[in-house]
Symmetry: none
Subunit: 217 residues, 4 copies
DNA sequence: TATGAATGAGTCTTCATTCAT
DNA sequence: TATGAATGAAGACTCATTCAT
C-alpha cells in the first residue's frame, strides 16, 4: 500500500555533492555558446535543473562560477601524459603524431575545447584566470611538446632548432581549430571547411617534411 | 545677409563628417580591449569626444555600431593585394614570405588585428557578422594564399598538396598570434614569450623546409 | 519495548523546552546590535545553535520572532516594584533615587535596555508593538514614578506640580541613556562621555534641587 | 495656434540642480517614516517624481543617499547660533529658555527632527555617520549649551556644577521628544500625551528651580 | 523534532536608448 | 546637429520561508 520509498520524489533527492558539478557543466556549455556576459545566471540554473537561488548556494558570484568552470575543466591531464611519454618507444615523428591524436581525443574533441575560446575572450576582464590558464595549461602543454621536439633533435631525427619557438608552430593550429569550432564553425558557410583530424595529421606532416619540393628525390 | 554656405566653419563641417569614423575608431579600441558586452556606449562616446546621445545619431544601436566597427575595419585589402601578387616576380617561397610580411604590416601589427578576437568572441551572438567576416575576409584571404601555393606547385617549387587544406597551416598561427596578443598577451607571465615577426618567419621556414633531418643533405 | 518517557534524555528534553528562549535571547542581542532588518534569521539560528529551519518551528515568521523578543523582555517588573514601593519608608527624594537605581540595575544596565532602541526604531513598522509597549511599559512606568512624585507632593516634600508631565523630565534622560548606549555609544568618539550611574544621580539631584543659585542659602 | 513655448512640457524641464534636493527631501521623509532598510529606492524616486534610474544619476548608492540626507540636514546652524548668543543681554535662565525655544523652532518642530531617530537607529550600521553626527551636531550642540551654563555659573546665577554633565540633563529630553514624535508618537495611545512646547518650558523650569519644596520660601 | 537544501519574490543597481532643449 | 538628463527593462544577488528527509 505504501509506495516503495525507493521510487519517490525525484525533485529534491539529488545530493548536495552533485549540484556544483551539474551547475559547472551547464555553465560551461552556456558560457562557451554565448559568452560569459551574454549568459544569464538564471539560464545556467535552469539548465542544471535548479533555481537561481540554488546556484548562489554553491558559488559566491557569477565570476566565481566562471572560475570554477575553468578550473574544473583543466583537469590534471598533463601529469599522466608526461608519464606516458617518458616511456614512448617509437620515432619522434610518431611521438608527435601520437601526442596530437591524444590531444584531439581528450581535449580538442571535447566540450572542454570551448574553454580556450572562453579564456581568450575574457582574459582581459579576468587577468587572474589568464594567469591561471597560462600556468596550468599553456606552460605544461608547451613543455610537453617541447620535450618531444628536444628528443627528436637529440636523437638526430629533427634538425637543430629553437624548440621554445617552433612549439608554437605546432600548437597554434590546434588553438585555432578550437576557436574556429566554437565560433565561426557555427556559421553555416564555414561549417565543413575543415575536418579536424585530417587537418591535424596533414599539419604535422607538413611541419615534419616541409612543402618545398625535395631536390634529391 | 545670410552667410554663404562656403563661409561656415570648415572645422565643424569636417568634424561632422568625421564623427562616425571617430566613433568607430573609439569603439574598435574599446571593444577589442574589453569585449563587446563589457564596453559601455558612454565610454565609446567619451573617447570619441562626443556625448552619448550623439552616438545614437549615427548608429541605431550598440549592435549597429559593432557591425560598423567590423565592416569598416575589413578594408578591401584583398583586391589590391591580389593585383600586387599577379605580377610578383620571385620564387613562390619568397612570395609566401612576402605575403606574410605584408599581412603583418597591414593587419597583424595594426589595431585591426583585434577584430579577429572580436569576431571570434561574438560570432555566436552575431551570426550575421560571422557570415560577413567569412565572406569578406576568410575566403579572400585563404583564396589569395591558396593561389600562391598553387603557383608554387605548378612551377614545381612545392610538392603536390591539397592547397585548400594546407592553407590553414599557414593561416592558423597568424590568427593565433592576434588572439594571443589581444588576450593572454596582456597577462604578465605570457607577455614576451612570442616575438611575432621572428615567429612568422620561422614558421614559414618550417613549413617550407620541414623539421625532419634531411638525409641526403 | 518503548522506553518509558521518564527514561528519555533529560538534557534533550530540557533543550527542547529551552529552544524558544535561546532563540529569543539570540534574536534580542542581534536585533539590538544590528537592527531588525539588518539581522538575518540565519544568524539568529546560528547564534542559538540551531538550524534555520528549527527557528520556523517555533516562530511563524521573523516578525513573529520580533514580537516575542519584545514581549518576553518586558517582564512583569512593575507589579513587584509597585508592591515594593507601597511600603517604602524613607523620604520621597530617597524614594526617587532608589527607583532610579533599581531601574538602572534591572533594566538600564541589562541587555533588555536595547529593547527601547528597537521599539523606537521599528515602532512605525510595527504599530502593534508600539501599542503593546505603550501599554505594558510606558504606562506602568510613568504611573509608578508619578505615584512617587504624588507622594512627595502630598507629604509636602515636593512643590505642587503637574506630575503627569514632570514625570517625563525624569524618564527622558533614562531613555536617552539607553538609546545612546546602543547607538552612538559604539562610536569611539562618543564612547565614554557619559557615565550612566553618575549621570543618573546628578540628574535626579538637579531635578530635586534645581540649578539656580539659592538666594537664602 | 501654436502653443506658447513658455507653457509646455512640465515633465523634463526641471533643472538638474533641483533634483538632488528633491530626492534628499523625499528620502528624509521616507527614511524617517519607515527606516532606512524598509525604504525602497523606488519609493524615494517616486516621491521625488522621478524614475529609479534618475536617483542613481545623483547618488552612487542607497547608502550614499542616506549620507547625503544626514549631511544636508545638519545645516550649519551652530555658527549662526553661537554668534547670536555671544551678544545675548538677558539673564542666563532667560538665555536657556531662549535657546530651547530656538531649537524647537528650527529643529525639533521640523522634519529634520526625524534625523535623530535615523542616526540613532542606524548608527551601528553606519559608524561613519555616527562619527560625523557626533562631531557636527552633538559636540557643537552640547558646547553651545555648556557655554550658557558656564555663563550662568560665572555670573552667580547658577550654582557651581560640572557643566559637561548637566548639559545632558537639558538635552536628553529634547532628544527624547524627537524620538518619541517619530516613533511612539504615531501610535494612537501615545499620541497626545506630551505637548512639546509646554513640556520644554516645564522641563527648563524644573531644572532651574528644582522640585523640592523650598524651606525658606 | 530537526535539518539544511531549495526556492523565488524582492531589491539594488546598470546601461542602452530616448527626447526635450 | 548635439546634448545630457531621464528612463525603465533587465540582471545579479539576497534572504525569509518551505519541505522532503
Amino acid at each position: 500500500m505504501a509506495p516503495s520509498s525507493a521510487e519517490t520524489s525525484p525533485k529534491r533527492e539529488r545530493r548536495k555533492e552533485a549540484r556544483p558539478g551539474e551547475l559547472v557543466k551547464a555553465a560551461l556549455d552556456l558560457f562557451v555558446e554565448k559568452g560569459f556576459a551574454a549568459t544569464r545566471v538564471d539560464e545556467v540554473a535552469a539548465r542544471a535543473g535548479v533555481s537561481k537561488g540554488t546556484l548562489f548556494l554553491y558559488f559566491e558570484s557569477k565570476e566565481d562560477l566562471f572560475k570554477a568552470v575553468i578550473r574544473d575543466n583543466i583537469a590534471n591531464l598533463f601529469p599522466a601524459w608526461n608519464e606516458e611519454f617518458k616511456t614512448f618507444g617509437g620515432s619522434s615523428a610518431e611521438m608527435l603524431h601520437y601526442a596530437m591524436d591524444l590531444w584531439w581525443l581528450n581535449v580538442g574533441n571535447t566540450p572542454a575545447s570551448g574553454i580556450v575560446k572562453l579564456v581568450i575572450s575574457e582574459a582581459q576582464n579576468f587577468p587572474e584566470i589568464a594567469a591561471f590558464y597560462q600556468k596550468e595549461v599553456v606552460e605544461p602543454g608547451t613543455g610537453l611538446l617541447q620535450s618531444i621536439l628536444q628528443r627528436g633533435v637529440e636523437r638526430g631525427e629533427f634538425q637543430h632548432m629553437d624548440t621554445s619557438k617552433s612549439v608554437f608552430s605546432i600548437i597554434a593550429p590546434m588553438i585555432f581549430l578550437m576557436m574556429w569550432k566554437h565560433s565561426m564553425g557555427a556559421c553555416a558557410a564555414s561549417a565543413n571547411i575543415i575536418d579536424p583530424k585530417e587537418f591535424i595529421h596533414m599539419h604535422v606532416d607538413l611541419l615534419l617534411n616541409g612543402m618545398s619540393a625535395k631536390k634529391t628525390q
